[in-house]
Every structure is written in C-alpha cells, then in structure tokens.
C-alpha cells in the first residue's frame, strides 16, 4: 500500500519559488495506485472536473483515493464517468498543487512567494482592504470578485456581494453561454432543458457533444433512435458520428436558421395549432421573414450548405414527430450570436417542440430552500458599470470584456482596487491576455483562491489554497427538470496540506474582516451613523447584518442535515449521505441493459407541465437600442477573411476542460500539447507538414504551435484547442506545452449580452 507521508517539513523562511515548494513538499503516492482485493469505503461524491457534474463513488483505502467509479443512482450522469472524471485522482494528488497560504515577494507573475500562516494571510488582506475601502469612502464595489466554478458560487456571492457589499461580481457566463441562456429566457420565458432522449430528429450547430461531454445529453444521443444532423466548420467527433454532416462557414449558422424559418413559414410546415395558441407577434415574424426572402439559395451563399440540402432538412425536421434544434452551450462565436441562439429557439417553437417530449421542456425541478442571512445596506456603495452600453447582459455575472476595458482605460466611474478571484483563470480564459495582465497590475490587492498555481494565481498578492472537490462536503444541489433529483457531494478524504474548503476560508476571512470593515462603514456611512446613534454600536452591528460569518455558524454537514431534513425528511438525507443522490424512484429504478438504467418511469417524467407562457417573436427593447427585434441577417455579419489570411476558431479536446486540466498527469498522456488544425491542401501549398512549427500572428500578438494538416477543416479556417500554452512555470506538466488561443484572439464583444466573440479574429501564418 502506497501511503502519503504527511511529514510537514519546516520550510526555510524567505524567498522561495512556488515550484521549489511543490517538488519538495511531501512524499506523494505514485501516480496510479492499484486497487486492493479488499472491500473499501465507497464515498459518494459529485465530480468537478468540468462544469457538468456527474456523480461517482470514491474508493478510499487507508485515506487514499485509489479509484473513482460512476454512481448508478444519478439520473443525470447515467452511470458513467468520462476520462476527466476518472483522472480526477490526479487533480487531488498533483504535486504542483497549492498547499499553503502564500504572500507575494517578487513581482506579479514571477512566482516568488513566502509561506505564511492562515492568520498572517487574513491579516494582510484585512490591512489592505481597510485602507482601500476607507480611501473609497465605503464604496464596497471597489472590491470586485469573481468565480469560475459552478458549485458554491451562490455562497461566494453571499459573502462578497451580500455581506461585504460589492456589486461587481463576474463569472464565466460572458465568456461562455450567456447569449444562449438570455435568448431562451427572453423568447419563451425560461431557460428550459432539452430532452435529447425523447427527440427523433436533432440538429446541432457547432456544439461538440462527443468531445465536450454533457450529461445526460451526450449519453442520450448515443442511445436515442434519432436522426442526428450536425453543422460545424470542423469535422469533429460529433460530426463524424452524425447521420448527416453539414460543413459550414464559421459564424453563419444564423443564416441556416433564418432559412429554416423562412421555408417553414412560406411552405406552412410549422405547427399551426401551437403557433396560434402560444405565439405573440407571429404576424410580425411572418411579415419580416417573408419580406427578407431568406431562401435556401440565399442561405447557401452564406453557409456553403447546398440549397437543396437546406430545403430537405427543413422538411424532414418539421415532419418529424419530436424534432429538436439543440441549443448548444459553448462560447459565443460572433456578433450575431444572440440572434442565432434566438433563431434556434424560434425554430423549436415553430415545430411546437416546447414543453413536450423531445423538445425544450420546463419540467419540475426541486426548489431547495434558501438559507437566509441578514444583509447590511451600504449607502455609499455604487452600482456595477460593466453593463453600461449592453442591452440586456447578465445582472448576476456581468460582462468580463466590458469590465476589463473600463478598468484598463480608466473609464470606470470609480476605481476598482481589489479583486478576489476563485477558481477562475483570468489570465487564460479571455481574449487578449496582455490586457488581463494590465488589469490585474492596476489592482492594489489581488487575492486568489484556487487549487493550482495557475497563470492567474501567480499574479496574486495573496494565494489561499482551496482543497479539491474530493476533500470537502458541499451544500446539496438540485439537478434537472425532466427527471429531477437531489445530489450531495460528500467528503472522500480530509483536505491535504493546509488547504481548506471555501466555506472555511470565508469563515476565517469573515472573522478577521467583520469588525474592521464595520468601522470603516461607521466612519463614512451616514445611515449607519444614525443607526449607531439610535441603537448603539453592538446592536447596529448585529442586527445590521455586519457579521460576515453568519452563514458559517454551523459546519457544512450540520447545515446540509438541517436544510435537507427540514424540507425533505430524514430518509432523503440518509439517501444523500449513503448514495449521494435522491430521486423519488431511487428504490425501484430498473437496469435496462448493461448497467444502463431507467430512472423515472416514462409516465412520471415531466415532459409537459402546466404553464402560462408565450413565445415572443418580437423584442421591443432590442429595437429601442438599435438591434433587430426579430432575428435578421445584417451586412456586417459577413465576416471577411483577406486573401492568404485565416479565421481562427477554438474548441477543446475530449480530455481537457479549458485550462483547468492542463497539469493533469494522466490526461496529458492523451494530449500533451495542442496542434493547429489547418486544411491539408492549404498546408501542402505552404509546405507545412504534420508537426512543423508554425507562427500564428494576429493584431494582438503571436504564438508558435505545431501544425496538424487535415481534411477535416475548411481552407480559410484554423482551429486550436483552448487550455494550452500555460505560462506559469509552477505548473510543471503544463508549462511550455502548446499555445494559448487567447494570446492571439482579439477582444471583441457583442452588445446584447456583453459576451466575448471568440471567432472573429483573422491571422496570418508562417512556417518556421
């Protein structure tokens, strides 16, 4: 049995680089540990290797996780774990992990830190924050905070938003899927869920479900009796597996969708009864689409998909009994992204595929009770500014590119002087890395909570080591709408080194900050001064909600037990502790074949629910702001690629999750570095062969990457996977491997949701 030697060797005080800590910190188990013949503890947990969340059981032998197995009780993940899920063990035992609180000694980015105690780290943060918030006269929004991890996000917001009082929260939505969420919400009043399993005809635009696995969708696609049509400017695994693959010009999917709508309306293929009952402003949609003449011939000129195919597929789609145009979740591509996502929703609606089997369903999710806390009111706090100039935008997660632009150009209405960054690799996750660096360098205080010494962590003044998801319990989560369930992440092993859960980190920070920050408020906030005068300091503090640790009075296990038992009873709580999951049919779920289960009996699934809703064809607010109230093609959507230039598109490999898995020693065996996909004929003409080094130059910067000539990509398009080209030397497996897309991508964003448009950069290349 391989054991982790927890010999807490004393470190030399003073300046030591992070990587020295990493390699000498403690003896680690060998990279893989053969499971023993004995029975062991199986701890139910929820995976966190990507945003998706699958359920598993962690096999724990003598306090070491030796294997992760899928959890057959969870309807969402269908008894499977993907390669990344299986390799999560390597994330726990990664020798490069952040192990101790650290305070920066060198310049930002050079990786020189000194090890400190948790109390020293908190004390340092407190001194800086008191000064900053005092300088800004208690405008709490001078402290921005962000989070890239799905779990615990709301709790993180409660701490920095509700308790500390900042309005500036940013998350991954504006570099991910906010246009899709917004388009669906604004069109049918809900973000919904797609019933892939129930669909007999599915079209996917660009979402690569067989390499970017999402449960249950990816699994359901494999087993559903359906025709699958895939549009993609790259022949992905999803395209390879499709019944029909339509190679398409990047960023022109909207033209395909508009043509489908045109044909459906002109040839009256749509579901008339559904349209009559649910559509609002259908006459406007009809008039607009017909007058624009979005014929198949017109769409062919944009998309490169033959008109006859567009006509045939449209007919097949509307003739199917459960057609679904799959609303992919993926980064935003181009300026027309919101309209494209909205056009897909309208196609589903025209087919009547809303709130029914095989369509976009509303379902019946479990609504968990909120733990209530007392929120202080800060009279001097100013609102967020990153949605200025954005039509809708996410009030929750904002717009990263607009935020960053206003900071670096000094055009924000007030200075942002501090930033708390949790599991969000800013230095890799958005276009134009130099600008992100500039933004972070303008801060008086940068604090990073993470598990790995990422490119962003090494920009921090203070690094707070968070434990991995297998070392902590998290609050119960409600999943899905068609077959809803509850799931609980249990703790498989205790946090290693001196790492802590987010809750414990915030509790410690809250203890340190509450009173000093209250004093700053008392100095500047007239309302608080009044309250102190009337009720006394103590009462004003307590009843005003200034105690930042209010949520952490009880530990997470106690909080879960209280919350779950009060709302669902002890039986459900026991199931969540023992099986990690609860759903109403957990005791009677049936194995259909080869470890594949039926969870809810068909008649109990929430395909159709009672709901008053309308399909909104026309959005007045868009018109008011100078945008198309009904999806339309605009001339400026025609993206021009100069002769001898290429349009860059991005994506990822099946074994990577953005930059989060970059250092995983198991996964790197499958894809150690990324390659530049280039059309084989074009490569031939340029004398570029497999593995040749190529310089790729944009208006922002340049990268060097190895070439992968292939017929699976269009002539004027280049593709590279996101998540490579890590700059931090402390990530020893990832450093120097491949190249980063965001080094060369231009930082453009669309103005409806403020989302970064990732596929609008032209580059030139040169063989080295």
């Amino acid at each position: 049995m391989k054991k982790i030697e927890v010999s807490r060797r004393k470190f030399l005080q003073g300046s030591v680089s992070l990587c020295v800590y990493a390699s000498s910190a403690m003896a680690m188990p060998l990279a893989t540990t053969k499971t023993s013949k004995k029975n062991a503890e199986d701890v139910p947990y929820l995976c966190n290797m990507c945003r998706n969340k699958c359920a598993g059981f962690a096999r724990v032998e003598e306090n070491i996780i030796t294997k992760l197995n899928p959890n057959h009780y969870f309807p969402k993940s269908r008894n499977m774990l993907c390669p990344k899920g299986n390799a999560a063990i390597q994330a726990v035992y990664d020798k490069d992990r952040l192990k101790y609180p650290l305070i920066r000694m060198g310049k930002r980015g050079d990786g020189r830190y000194r090890r400190v105690t948790w109390d020293e780290a908190y004390e340092y943060i407190k001194d800086k924050l008191v000064k900053i918030i005092d300088e800004e006269k208690d405008n709490r929004s001078t402290v921005a905070y962000c989070n890239g991890e799905g779990f615990n996000k709301d709790e993180y917001i409660k701490f920095f938003g509700s308790k500390l009082g900042s309005a500036n929260f940013l998350d991954e939505g504006s570099i991910c899927l906010n246009t899709k969420l917004g388009a669906t919400q604004l069109t049918i009043g809900d973000v919904g869920e797609m019933d892939v399993a129930g669909s007999d005809y599915m079209i996917i635009s660009g979402a690569n479900r067989y390499e970017s696995l999402i449960t249950p969708d990816s699994v359901d696609m494999l087993h559903a009796k359906q025709k699958l049509v895939v549009l993609d400017p790259r022949c992905t695994m999803t395209a390879i597996k499709a019944d029909e693959y339509l190679p398409v010009n990047p960023g022109t999917d909207l033209a395909f969708c508009l043509s489908m709508i045109y044909i459906a309306i002109k040839d009256e293929l749509y579901d008339k009864a559904y349209v009559k009952t649910y559509f609002k402003d259908f006459d406007k949609l009809k008039k607009h689409i017909l007058s624009k003449k979005y014929t198949a011939k017109w769409a062919e000129s944009k998309t490169h998909i033959p008109a006859e195919r567009i006509k045939r597929i449209t007919k097949e789609f509307f003739a199917a009994s459960h057609p679904l145009y799959y609303l992919g979740r993926r980064s935003v591509w181009s300026q027309n992204d919101f309209q494209f996502r909205r056009a897909m929703v309208l196609i589903n609606a025209l087919a009547g595929s809303i709130n029914r089997k095989g369509g976009i369903i509303f379902g019946k999710p479990f609504h968990l009770h909120e733990e209530e806390i007392n929120e202080p009111l800060y009279s001097n706090t100013v609102d967020r500014f990153d949605l200025d100039g954005i039509v809708y935008g996410s009030q929750k997660g904002g717009s990263w590119l607009n935020f960053r632009e206003k900071i670096v150009t000094n055009t924000s209405p007030y200075p942002v002087k501090a930033m708390f960054i949790r599991k969000h690799n800013l230095m890799q996750n958005m276009p134009n890395i130099e600008k992100t660096k500039k933004m972070l360098n303008m801060m008086d205080l940068v604090v990073v909570l993470d598990t790995m010494p990422s490119d962003t962590a090494v920009m921090a003044d203070v690094i707070l080591p968070e434990c991995t998801f297998l070392e902590r319990e998290d609050m119960v989560v409600s999943f899905n709408r068609l077959e809803p369930s509850l799931a609980l992440r249990n703790q498989a092993i205790k946090p290693m080194y001196e790492s802590k859960s987010m809750q414990d980190i915030l509790k410690g920070l809250g203890k340190k900050l509450s009173v000093p920050l209250f004093k700053v408020s008392a100095k500047h906030d007239a309302d608080l001064q009044e309250s102190i005068k009337n009720y006394g300091k103590e009462k004003a503090f307590t009843e005003g909600g200034y105690n930042m640790t209010e949520l952490y009075k009880y530990d997470i296990t106690t909080r879960n037990k209280k919350l779950i038992t009060a709302q669902f009873g002890k039986k459900v709580y026991d199931s969540l502790k023992k099986r990690g999951v609860w759903h109403p049919y957990i005791d009677t779920q049936k194995e259909i074949f080869n470890n594949y289960y039926e969870y809810y009996p068909k008649e109990k699934r929430h395909y159709t629910v009672e709901r008053n809703y309308k399909v909104h064809c026309y959005l007045k607010k868009l018109e008011k702001h100078g945008f198309d109230p009904i999806p339309a093609w605009n001339d400026h959507y025609d993206f021009k690629v100069p002769k001898e230039a290429f349009r860059v598109i991005t994506g990822r490999y099946v074994t990577t999750t953005q930059s989060a898995t970059a250092n995983n020693e198991m996964l790197k065996d499958f894809q150690e570095e990324n390659y530049l996909w280039i059309n084989n004929d074009v490569a031939d003409s340029l004398g570029i062969k497999l593995g040749d080094s190529v310089a790729v130059m944009s208006s922002v910067s340049s990268i060097v990457i190895k070439a992968y000539p292939t017929n699976k990509i269009a002539p004027q398009v280049l593709w590279l996977s996101h998540g490579f080209g890590i700059h931090a030397r402390e990530m020893t497996h990832a450093f120097g491997k491949g190249a980063s897309d965001n080094m060369i991508l231009e930082d453009k964003f669309e103005k409806i949701y403020g989302c970064a448009t990732m596929h609008e950069t032209n580059v030139t290349i040169r063989k080295l």
Binding site: T35, C235, P247, N595
Partner: protein
Amino acid sequence: MANYGMAFDYKLCINCHACEVACKEENGIDLGAKNHRLWIQEDALVKGDFWDLDRSEISFMQMQCQECQDAPCLKACPNGAIYVDENGIVRLHQDKCDLTRACMEACPYDARYVDEKNHVTDKCIFCADTRLARGETTTACQITCPAKLRYFGDLDDENSEISKVLKEREHFTLKPEAGTKPKLFYLK
C-alpha cells in the same frame, strides 16, 4: 468458475478515452502514453475534400488482449509463466516471467507491453486481481463507458447478458485467420 469474455457494440465508440483512464487507475498501470492494457484504434480516415467528406469507413475499435482460447503467448513463453485461470482468463505467474518478450512477439494483437514497475509483460486480465477478486461483476472499462458498449460476463452461462447479446446479434472476431479463437467479440 466462469468462462469470461467480452463483446463490444463497437460502432457506439466516440473514442473518449474513459475506458483507458479507468483501467490505468483501477489496475495501477504506470503513467505514460506507452503503458496501457487497452486502447482505441482509429481505423481508416475521413476521406475527400472538406466540403464533401466521406465518413463511412472510419471506425473506432476497442483493442486489448483478445483472451484467445488457443493463445500464442502461452505457447511461446519459454518459462511456462503464462496460464489460463479458473475463469478462463489468460494470466501470468509474475515470478516466472523474466522478460524474454516471446509472448509479445507471438501475440497477433499486440496486446502486451512491458510493465517496467514489476519487470513483467502485462496485458488486460479483465480486472481479475482487482475488481473480480473483490467479487465485483464489472470491469473498470465497462462500468465507466459513456456508451455502455462493453458487455462482460460468463460465456458459459446462457442467461448472462453477454451470451444473450451474442445470440441475438451478428458478430465477428479479430484476425480469425490466426486461428487463436478469441473470446472478445465485435457486434455488427
């Protein structure tokens, strides 16, 4: 006592590598791309010009020890280190192996590799000394597979799922001309 075999609904494979990672973690296989008991082989390529690709010939095949009933490796080993266990699995007496690599050369399926940690040749044994030894009835690759394309079980038990699927569906074995009588089957 059983006669274990495996059947693959191979056309469902999306080459996600979950099986390979699960196998390496379960069985403590050394890291490194060259060390593996199983792999997915991409057969043929997508052909033609980008705008008119032919995807018909590409397939992803699950490759690993084929559990030959007439195993060339067993016959080739000069040390008599290879044997068939009570469950019909081709196994190795680790202490008798001195890395002549005769088994590796004899194997028509390239199923063996050198396990540098234990100084032996290694291959898939259906998780015999890990999962099966604890009484589990699935292999690591089988249980984690998103497509659930790997059927594993007792070929001598006519009620086992694998026996039923082999009765219901047409199937083939790899390199039948080698005369090795594999117990791994690919479902048409």
